[in-house]
């Protein structure tokens, strides 16, 4: 299970890295072309969408690498057994919250699709980007639930 999740993560990180490089080049092109009175149309919109995908695709990776900050002052001093119990409760709360969020994001995306909502400048549909974000939170949920059911209550 964890191997599959990490393979998904690697693919996500590859895509996220490409989006990051695209963001750099797109902005630089916009700065350059703007000097000649020809800014790249819709740069702000595309950058926002790329940023959202970059975040979505790194959610699982960041969680797996334990990057998210937590306050360790008390928690790390608890006995091992108690820490495992607390970690499981923690995983249940987070798992439930992000499951609800995933469901809400999918609902939002489908709602946008049904009303045909498009972006302001480029007039492009953007519900697929919300679905990518929902996918990112779904992968995060899988990591959290993996930690919940694994012995020790930790994905690492």
């Amino acid at each position: 299970m964890i191997d599959l999740l990490r393979k998904i993560n690697s693919l996500q990180i590859f895509c996220g890295g490409c989006f990051l490089v695209c963001m750099v080049f797109l902005t630089c092109c916009n700065i350059l072309f703007r000097q000649f009175g020809m800014p790249v149309r819709g740069t702000f919109e595309i950058m926002g969408f790329l940023g959202a995908m970059l975040f979505a695709l790194s959610l699982g990776y960041s969680h797996d690498k334990k990057e998210h900050l937590y306050v360790s002052i008390l928690f790390d001093r608890f006995p091992e057994k108690l820490r495992q119990v607390l970690q499981r409760i923690n995983a249940m709360i987070c798992g439930l919250f992000f499951s609800l969020l995933t469901w809400q994001l999918i609902k939002k995306a489908l709602n946008m699709k049904s009303v045909g909502e498009v972006s302001e400048t480029l007039q492009m549909i953007y519900y697929p980007f919300i679905l990518v974000l929902a996918f990112g939170t779904f992968v995060l949920v899988l990591f959290i639930f993996y930690a919940l059911f694994k012995k020790g209550g930790d994905s690492n």
Binding site: M23, G51, L54, S58, Y70, S72, I73, F75, I93, F129
Partner: protein, 433 residues
């Protein structure tokens, strides 16, 4: 139940999740914000609010500045700029007493002008500067203290991710915040250097002088890191002249840092991949914190806690300076148990409106509390950079690192005191824009 009481329970619930359950800070803020909003309004409204806030935060153009500036810093880090900066500083000031420790502070402040990561700076400086100082018989207390404290400059000297986030959270100009923090950063750097001079005067054995370099060697050493400092000047000048926005400055900075690294052949393909991965990992953590803070902020807004607190403090018979000192003490205590970024995101919705109600300059307040919370990175029990230095240094106890850090604490406190007495140190430069 009154809304203020609900808000107070929400804040207590947040602390409970943070301290007892060890839940990541961004997740805790989102969960408490969601639960509180559900209680006060309705479950469906909370779900809608959370989904909308999450999407709007993730897709906000203004937030793209975060991965771009982090990317610039990571490229600089993986291309070994800080090592070269240290060697250059070493050639210039290494020959004076305590000079290698001073070179560490100078290299840290120069690297802070490109990279805003405390722990990355602490890790590299520990591997580069510690052996050098050990070679010249420097006391472990002084050398590790200088590295731990020098690496905190990354948060104060622009471009700093913490300042960007404060700017976004309080809707202030990021460029003005950057300019405001230059004076404060320079002041803190000078006081850290002064500390080394004073300490080495009192106890000369702590840091002996290294051999003197020739002028030729000194000039030759500049080529190691000068290009990145030119990059910093280009970014600040571009922002000043309105040539580009902060987000564009991040992209331009990343592009030029990459270009310099490729031309000078200092960044391998493997290191480039590491820089990208680290950027994604750190950016995700930061954006998750912001999303959590936004959801928590919506909950706080409906409970009116920030406004009630501002009204309460306005009724107190205390001078504004005393209130500011109280706020600073809260931040010092908070910074000692929590990461600066997380602490700022949790408390800004509460204290920023209060400071504005008291008539403080927003730039001055933001920069000052950034320095105050920075103290937390070196003070026990959290002190992230201190742990990094102690972890890398051979045969150095954690208590020795904290002992070294304690020598520099007066410099931080003096900086805060001077900034409270002379706010123009922060406000004059942004006033020129």
């Amino acid at each position: 139940m009154s809304l203020t009481l609900v808000g107070a329970i929400g804040v207590s619930g947040l602390l409970l999740l943070l301290f007892i359950f060890g839940m990541p800070v961004g997740f805790s803020m989102a969960v408490v914000g969601f639960a509180g909003f559900s209680y006060v309004i309705s479950f469906n409204a909370a779900l809608n609010m959370t989904g909308s806030v999450f999407w709007s935060v993730c897709s906000r153009y203004g937030l793209t500045v975060i991965p771009l500036f982090i990317f610039m810093g990571q490229i600089a880090f993986y291309s070994g700029v800080n090592k070269r900066l240290y060697r250059a500083a070493n050639k210039w000031v290494g020959h004076i007493q305590g000079g290698l420790a001073m070179a560490t502070i100078i290299a840290c402040s120069a690297f802070a002008a490109i990279c805003g990561s405390n722990t990355a700076t602490a890790a590299t400086m520990s591997t580069v500067a510690l052996p050098e100082m050990k070679k010249y018989g420097y006391s472990a207390v002084l050398s590790t203290g200088a590295i731990a404290c020098g690496s905190t400059l990354g948060v104060v000297i622009p471009p700093s991710v913490v300042l960007i986030i404060i700017g976004l959270a309080t809707e202030q100009s990021i460029a003005r915040l950057f300019y405001g923090s230059i004076g404060a950063g320079v002041l803190l750097t000078l006081l850290l250097l002064l500390t080394i001079v004073v300490v080495c005067r009192i106890k000369p054995g702590l840091g002996l002088a290294a051999e003197k370099s020739t002028l030729k060697e000194k000039i030759a050493s500049l080529s190691g890191g000068i290009e990145m400092l030119i990059l910093f000047c280009l970014i600040m000048a571009g922002l000043y002249m309105g040539f580009f926005t902060p987000a564009e400055a991040g992209a331009a900075g990343a592009f030029f840092a990459l270009l310099i690294a490729v031309i000078t052949r200092t960044l391998s393909w493997d290191n480039f991949k590491k820089a990208v991965k680290d950027t994604l990992r750190v950016s995700c953590m930061v954006i998750m914190l912001i999303a959590g803070a936004m959801i928590f902020g919506r909950f706080l807004a409906i409970t009116r806690i920030p406004y009630d607190l501002a009204s309460f403090v306005a009724c107190l018979e205390m001078s504004d300076t005393m209130i500011m000192i109280c706020i600073s003490l809260i931040y010092i205590a908070g910074g000692a148990i929590m990461d600066a970024l997380a602490l700022l995101l949790i408390t800004i919705p509460i204290f920023f409106p209060l400071a504005m109600a008291m008539g403080y300059d927003p730039i001055w307040f933001s920069v000052t509390i950034t320095i105050v919370t920075t103290l937390g990175a070196v003070t026990p029990p959290v002190g992230a950079t201190t742990y990094v230095v102690a972890g890398i240094a051979d045969n150095v106890l954690l208590k020795d690192v904290f002992k070294g850090v304690s020598m520099f604490l007066p410099a931080y406190l003096l900086t805060i005191f001077i900034l409270i007495l002379f706010p123009w140190i922060i406000t004059w430069l942004p006033g020129l824009i």
